[in-house]
């Protein structure tokens, strides 16, 4: 049986971890900013590639234009989901690096503990961009709630990952608790 309270406590620990040192905070913000840019740019990949392919200096134009476009096509809720996902990714990456570090050298065992969760949640959320990349930017328009359900699914996976990770400096026995 899943111990919900333990998950909430670990999630709180994961959320607090980036604020324990300035370096972790900066890393979290940096990863969140990069993630946000990638997610927004992937909402219209051909436009982004053409504009940035011409000159990387257009990155601010592209991010601002596509932020407005995301707001208009996915609504305030859709844009908010993208921002929250980006911030959560920043927290998850910082926590994952902390876990690898506290486990010792970044060996395959350490990475195997953090990569699956990150990749699964990342793929679900960036699915919006991938749809545009492989098929049609308009595919999102045909999805329920303009793709917001897909974004929400990615976010929930990431929150689930953080609730298992907890504060990476502390050892937890999440899987043992859940399997009982």
């Amino acid at each position: 049986m899943i111990d919900l309270r333990a998950h909430v406590i670990r999630f709180r620990g994961a959320l607090a971890y980036p604020l324990t040192t300035t370096r972790r905070t900066v890393l979290t913000l940096l990863v969140a900013a990069v993630t946000y840019c990638l997610l927004v740019l992937s909402s219209f990949p051909t436009y982004s590639m053409q504009l940035l392919g011409a000159d990387l200096g257009y990155v601010d134009d592209a991010v601002i234009a596509l932020t407005g476009n995301t707001y208009r096509t996915a609504g305030a809720g859709g844009l908010a989901l993208v921002v929250v996902y980006a911030i959560t990714t920043g927290i998850a990456v910082t926590g994952a690096l902390g876990r690898v570090r506290s486990a010792g050298r970044p060996d395959a065992r350490g990475l195997s503990a953090v990569l699956p969760g990150l990749l699964a949640s990342g793929c679900a959320s960036c699915g919006a961009g991938v749809l545009g990349l492989v098929g049609f930017a308009s595919a999102l328009a045909t999805l329920p709630f303009d793709g917001n359900l897909l974004r929400l699914a990615g976010l929930l996976l990431l929150v689930g990952y953080l609730s298992r990770l907890g504060d990476p400096r502390h050892c937890t026995v999440a899987s043992a608790v859940e399997s009982e």
Partner: protein, 251 residues
């Protein structure tokens, strides 16, 4: 049982509040920055540029029958413009870049623009696209420049997707407000010719897909003499269009 200490709880609350603040800020920016550009030009010569009715296919394979052509028929370059009236990026292009393009390239006779419908966002997109064709049919012989007035009025009235702004009744209401366009004739066209027009638009959509367009606005710049073309996608800054026009013009 794990228990969070006070500092962990405090940090978690600060992190949550920070995330909420950043999210709110970006959403507010998305709402206010939308459609603001740097190329805005309110004194465009677009109102004075000629529109033409023509038939036949271009060397690029675009069927011109039924499509408004803006600019000189002798212009060496074609710009095929696929758009959706519900697309916010198209509106951004219309407001920020198109007027300056008309001033610098269409009015002087370098480029002629062929308007092509690319409705893909929702049923309202197709309704607006069909009405676009009906309006063009109604004005193309007597007063083709009124098409531009209608086209601009619809983009000016663009609302949120699914809000109902692109319903048939609302679009007809917009049409009634455009001088020189007979809304009753447009309504009759919508009733009687919609099926045929939708079939023609489906061909345009298919052509756009063959060209690899996955969103709008989308453009092909085509040098008719040299039979060379280049593609542009999205509401790119005007200087990107300038570069593309220069490149295609000099091939």
């Amino acid at each position: 049982m794990e228990r969070p200490d006070a500092s962990t709880t405090r940090r978690a609350v600060v992190a949550g509040l920070g995330a909420a603040t950043v999210t709110g800020g970006v959403v507010y920016a998305g709402a206010t920055l939308d459609n603001r550009g740097t190329d805005t030009d309110t004194t465009s010569s677009a109102d004075d540029v000629a529109f033409h009715r023509t038939t036949g296919s271009t060397g690029f394979g675009i069927e011109l029958d039924g499509h408004p052509v803006m600019g000189s028929m002798d212009a060496p370059l074609d710009m095929y413009y696929w758009g959706d009236y519900q697309c916010p990026f198209c509106r951004r292009f219309e407001e920020n870049t198109f007027p300056a393009l008309v001033d610098d390239h269409v009015a002087p006779g370098t480029v002629r623009v062929v308007f092509i419908e690319f409705p893909y966002l929702s049923a309202g997109s197709m309704t607006a696209a069909v009405m676009d064709r009906c309006v063009w049919r109604q004005v193309r012989d007597e007063n083709p420049r009124r098409y531009w007035a209608w086209h601009s009025s619809v983009y000016d009235a663009q609302g949120e997707k699914g809000s109902g702004w692109a319903s048939r009744s609302n679009l007809l209401e917009i049409t009634r407000g455009v001088d020189g366009v007979d809304a009753a004739a447009v309504e009759t066209c919508m009733d009687e010719d919609r099926t045929d027009i939708e079939a023609a638009i489906a061909t345009d959509i298919e052509r756009a897909r063959q060209l690899g367009f996955r969103g709008s606005p989308a453009f092909v710049l085509y040098n008719r003499d040299a039979d060379e073309a280049g593609k542009l996608v999205g509401a790119q800054p005007k200087e990107r269009f300038d570069e593309a026009i220069t490149t295609v013009e000099n091939v």
